[in-house]
């Protein structure tokens, strides 16, 4: 059906990455640059008095203090509309609210000199407060306000009881639905704070150009929003800032916003008048910079004796740490995930985000969906069991599928589901894992017990929709045909590593009928690209890819127009275009007249030689829908009842991504999605000591992520793709990145239950907790 889409091609940047030649932020060097080091708060909640910079400055260092940065508050994440953006951050602060919050920063010609200058800074703390580490304690009457006032949009708002944001919603008649339910299950869940553990720590390099404009290289999932925020914070016109796109050593949400380190580097560079490099050590990155959100959820749901879901209720308290990155939209998105999981006849939702004196939380792969899906899929499993209905059957009867309304990231992002591979995936995957033979936990004995569990979920493909909604979501692409028929593809869209841009190259190739190798993906910056909101919400292929396709289609239209002139055709409509394997080029021809043929390269050359002008297109694209990509996980685990260690035995992952653009890379998303989901389910947890110091001080030895020995290899990992086609996607494709991990915790928890008969309502399900439960602790 396609010439390039769905075929395997080695990724364009593969050799460069493997050989270590890809230049990440960490690798960027500018002649004459200074190295920065941040003075971080040793206290979780304090007030800074005098900062004595004299000794550091006498050593030749440049020092930037809180009094020298712009006074206005900001939110590092520009996604919501201005009026829904909650601002409580400063570039440097005199009121540190978590251990590690930047207070001052120094710059010196070498890293060693910078470190010595840092140690020469004298920072007085006027007051040190008892930190609030528990969200419920933080909300209790009389608790010290972590922020007294913050800015929402452009006006000041008071913060009450340390509640940063709230969100409520209800629909239908809950009481009536509850009355007609024969089963009601209510459970409380707790999902830990988890560190993204992307392999590249964050950093930034900033340079002032001879004309006074700024060039910035930084770890980010969005170069344009970074440009906008630098402009807003420092009052620099946007055309005087070029944020360059550099490879990102893993995202998972950690750089979904403009990193504080970027803004600090800009401030330091402006003060020093020289280029500055400011990179975080692993300790800085993992202990003091970012984590995902921590959830406390209460889920209540019911069903009739006939197995029809009636109502659902979700109460969601999110511990966001000391500042808001995107807490308010998270509450709406959590509601969206909840609504879209099942056909609730009535529902009630209440979400609140709470400040604590801990590292600020930002999105982590799934943006609330893994946690909400885990909670709901656990309750649904319990309901099915009580009704004595097969859990797979129960899900198929009640999930939101084709023809239903899908909410995507929240109530303002609604669209109708048009492609749905869930029935196909459920049938194929349950067969492959041997679902019918999984047995009952009560019948299992012995030291090693195996169990099979299912989790079903989805993620949105972007945050587009028919109405403008509450968030910004559009992409841009420039496709340019060179005079020899080669193609430059210029986009701001960041590829976190999943191969998004390789997918785009194939989509452009498919449209133009030239091989992907002909298309160069240009490393560019904000000065040379049009706006793309961010690579998030699994939108890269669905929205960004469609922008690329539309730009390519516009180029094709011009190619056909010029080919019609060359071939003397009456109109471009008389022409056909196809890939010619022998020429390895697109050929344009008149059907039935074989002599009337011209290659795309020849068209490009002719347009140049005859002064017809450049063949190029710049497109800005907003998707009018945000279709769900559905995923289904069947996981078999083995529980060692003597050690409590849980091991993954087999994984069958089913994904409905519409057309699969790159099979091996798409499979890679599911492998990686399982890996991070397994990590969340069984190990990841950022714990704090009483003074607010993270307990994993010693870095990745304390905070373990799975190694090659902990995960199943290809012989025990099967990926199944549904045979669907999304009518709004480029060549039928939709998103994948986050749906690849969303149902994993649920499937693992349900598998553990099937092995040992114990339900866990808290992640991570560590060996200690498993053992305690097995020994009767519940």
């Amino acid at each position: 059906m396609f010439d390039f889409v769905g075929k395997r091609f080695p990724r364009h940047d593969g050799f460069v990455k493997a050989a270590g030649l890809a230049e990440f932020t960490f690798d960027v060097e500018v002649p004459g640059m200074l190295y920065g080091r941040i003075f971080k708060s040793p206290y979780a909640f304090a007030r800074v008095g005098r900062i004595d910079t004299s000794l550091a400055e006498s050593m030749g260092a440049v020092v930037l203090t809180p009094d020298e940065v712009p006074d206005a508050l900001f939110n590092p994440r520009l996604l919501s509309l201005e009026e829904d953006t909650f601002k409580d951050w400063r570039v440097l602060t005199k009121t540190p609210r978590y251990v590690g919050e930047p207070i001052a920063v120094v710059a010196a010609p070498t890293e060693d000199a910078a470190q010595r200058a840092l140690e020469a800074l004298r920072v007085e703390f006027e007051e040190v407060y008892e930190p609030l580490l528990d969200p419920f304690e933080a909300m209790s009457p009389g608790a010290r306000p972590i922020h007294e006032r913050i800015v929402r949009g452009r006006r000041w708002v008071e913060v009450r009881n340390n509640v940063a944001a709230e969100y409520g919603y209800s629909e239908g008649d809950l009481e009536t639905e509850e009355r007609r339910s024969s089963v009601v299950v209510e459970r409380r869940f707790h999902a830990s704070r988890r560190y993204h553990a992307q392999l590249e720590p964050k950093g930034a390099v900033c340079k002032i150009e001879p004309d006074g404009s700024l060039t910035v290289w930084t770890t980010t999932q969005t170069i344009h929003n970074t440009k906008i925020l630098i402009s807003q914070v420092y009052g620099i016109p946007m055309n005087r800032i070029d944020v360059r796109k550099v490879p990102l050593g893993g995202g998972f949400g950690s750089s979904i916003h403009t990193n504080l380190v970027t803004l600090i580097a800009v401030g330091l560079c402006l003060k020093a008048g020289r280029p500055v490099k400011l990179v975080l050590t692993r300790e800085d990155d993992m202990v003091h910079d970012h984590v995902g959100f921590e959830f406390y959820m209460r889920v209540r749901a019911g069903a009739t004796r006939e197995g029809e879901i009636t109502f659902g209720e979700l109460e969601n308290t999110v511990d966001i740490g000391a500042h808001q990155v995107q807490a308010y939209p998270l509450l709406g998105a959590s509601l969206g995930w909840f609504v879209s999981l099942y056909k609730w006849r009535a529902l009630r939702y209440y979400g609140r985000a709470v400040y604590t004196n801990k590292v600020p939380s930002c999105a982590i792969r799934g943006y609330g969906a893994p946690e909400v899906t885990w909670a709901v899929e656990t309750v649904v499993d319990e309901i099915a069991e009580e009704l004595k209905v097969d859990p797979v059957e129960f899900r198929l009867r009640n999930y939101r599928g084709r023809g239903e309304i899908f909410w995507g990231q929240g109530p303002t992002v609604r669209s109708v589901i048009r492609s749905d591979g869930v029935p196909e995936l459920m049938a194929k995957c349950s067969e492959l894992i041997g679902w019918k033979t999984r047995g009952d936990p009560r019948s299992k004995s012995g030291r090693f017990r195996r169990g099979i569990g299912v989790g079903r979920g989805f993620h949105t493909s972007g945050a587009g929709g028919p109405l403008s909604g509450a968030v910004i979501d559009y992409s841009g692409a420039i496709v340019k045909l060179n005079e020899d028929g080669t193609v430059d593809y210029i986009t701001a869209l960041q590829d976190h590593g999943g191969g998004t841009l390789d997918a785009h190259a194939k989509i452009i190739a498919e449209e133009l009928k030239v091989p992907p190798s002909r298309i160069r993906i240009v490393w560019s910056g904000t000065s040379t690209t049009v706006y793309d909101v961010c690579t998030h919400a699994s939108r890269g292929v669905f929205v960004g890819g469609e922008a690329a396709r539309r730009a390519a289609a516009e180029v094709k239209r011009k190619v056909l127009e010029y080919a019609a002139r060359i071939l003397d055709a009456v109109s471009p409509e008389a022409l056909r275009i196809e890939y010619d394997r022998e020429l390895n080029d697109a050929v344009i021809f008149v059907e039935g007249a074989p002599e009337k043929r011209v290659s795309l390269s020849e068209v490009a050359r002719t347009a140049w030689q005859r002064n017809w002008g450049s063949i190029s297109a710049s497109v800005s694209y907003r998707a009018t829908v945000a279709p769900p990509s559905f995923t289904v996980y069947f996981v078999e685990v083995e529980v060692d009842t003597e050690t409590g260690i849980v091991r993954p035995v087999r994984v069958v992952a089913g994904a409905d991504v519409g057309t699969v653009v790159s099979p091996e890379l798409a499979a890679g998303q599911l492998h990686g999605g399982f890996s991070i989901g397994w990590s969340w389910a069984t190990g990841d947890e950022v714990a704090y000591l009483r003074d607010g110091v993270p307990a994993h001080r010693l870095s990745m030895t304390d905070y373990k992520i799975p190694t090659v020995l902990d995960l199943p290899d290809d012989e025990r990992f099967t990926v199944v793709f549904a045979s669907t086609y999304e009518p709004f996607g480029p060549f039928g494709a939709k998103g994948l990145g986050e749906s690849a991990s969303n149902p994993v915790i649920a499937a693992v928890a349900n598998a553990i239950y099937n092995a040992i008969g114990v339900r866990f309502y808290e992640i991570p399900m560590t060996p200690e907790k498993v053992l305690r439960a097995l020994r009767g602790g519940g």
């Binding site: 395997r8 080695p10 990724r11 593969g14 050799f15 460069v16 990455k17 493997a18 050989a19 270590g20 030649l21 230049e23 990440f24 960490f26 690798d27 060097e29 890293e111 060693d112 993204h196 553990a197 992307q198 392999l199 590249e200 720590p201 490879p247 990102l248 050593g249 893993g250 995202g251 998972f252 050590t281 692993r282 976190h496 590593g497 999943g498 191969g499 790159s662 091996e664 890379l665 499979a667 890679g668 492998h671 990686g672 999605g673 399982f674 890996s675 991070i676 870095s699 990745m700 030895t701 992520i705 799975p706 190694t707 090659v708 020995l709 995960l711 199943p712 290899d713 290809d714 990992f717």
Partner: protein, 152 residues
């Protein structure tokens, strides 16, 4: 102090501080950026280089101690015949995602094959110290198996 060692086939001489790590000397003094910083304390494997035939995390090696040794870095290894085959196998199997850990995997696999590792289980143990958050190691192990068949 002055240290002389063989780097990717040529002798280099460089001034180093006694406390400087091989990682910093390679990256900052010799401008070899293919050796990636991931943690600085030997936990992630991103900075793996080959020192006298053995894979080492260069952040744990003092530069002053490598005098007279032979050091191979990922940019060089990728261009050797075996290195190229490793990279090709990775490309075939989609084993490369963000690419930050990949140079470390490349050098570890290269050193293991030179040492005579020929089976997947031994290779898995050799790769225990290389962390990857993107791939779940599935396609990396697929590439390794393809490569081992090829080498055998």
């Amino acid at each position: 102090m002055r240290v002389s060692f063989r780097l990717n086939g040529s002798v280099v001489e460089v001034d180093v501080e006694p406390h400087e790590t091989l990682l910093n000397v390679l990256r900052d003094r010799l401008k070899i950026k293919s050796v990636k910083y991931g943690c600085g304390i030997g936990e992630c494997g991103a900075c793996t280089v080959i020192l006298d035939g053995r894979p080492v995390t260069s952040c744990l090696v003092l530069a002053a101690k490598v005098g007279g040794s032979e050091v191979l870095t990922p940019d060089y290894v990728a261009r050797t015949e075996l290195g190229r085959r490793i990279v090709d196998a990775m490309l075939e199997e989609g084993a490369i995602q963000c690419g930050y850990c990949t140079p470390g995997f490349l050098t570890t696999i290269y050193a293991a094959i030179i040492r005579g590792v020929r089976d997947a289980d031994s290779m898995r143990r050799a790769l225990l110290g290389n962390l990857c958050r993107c791939t779940g190691y599935v396609n990396i192990m697929k590439a390794v198996k393809r490569l081992l068949e090829d080498v055998r």
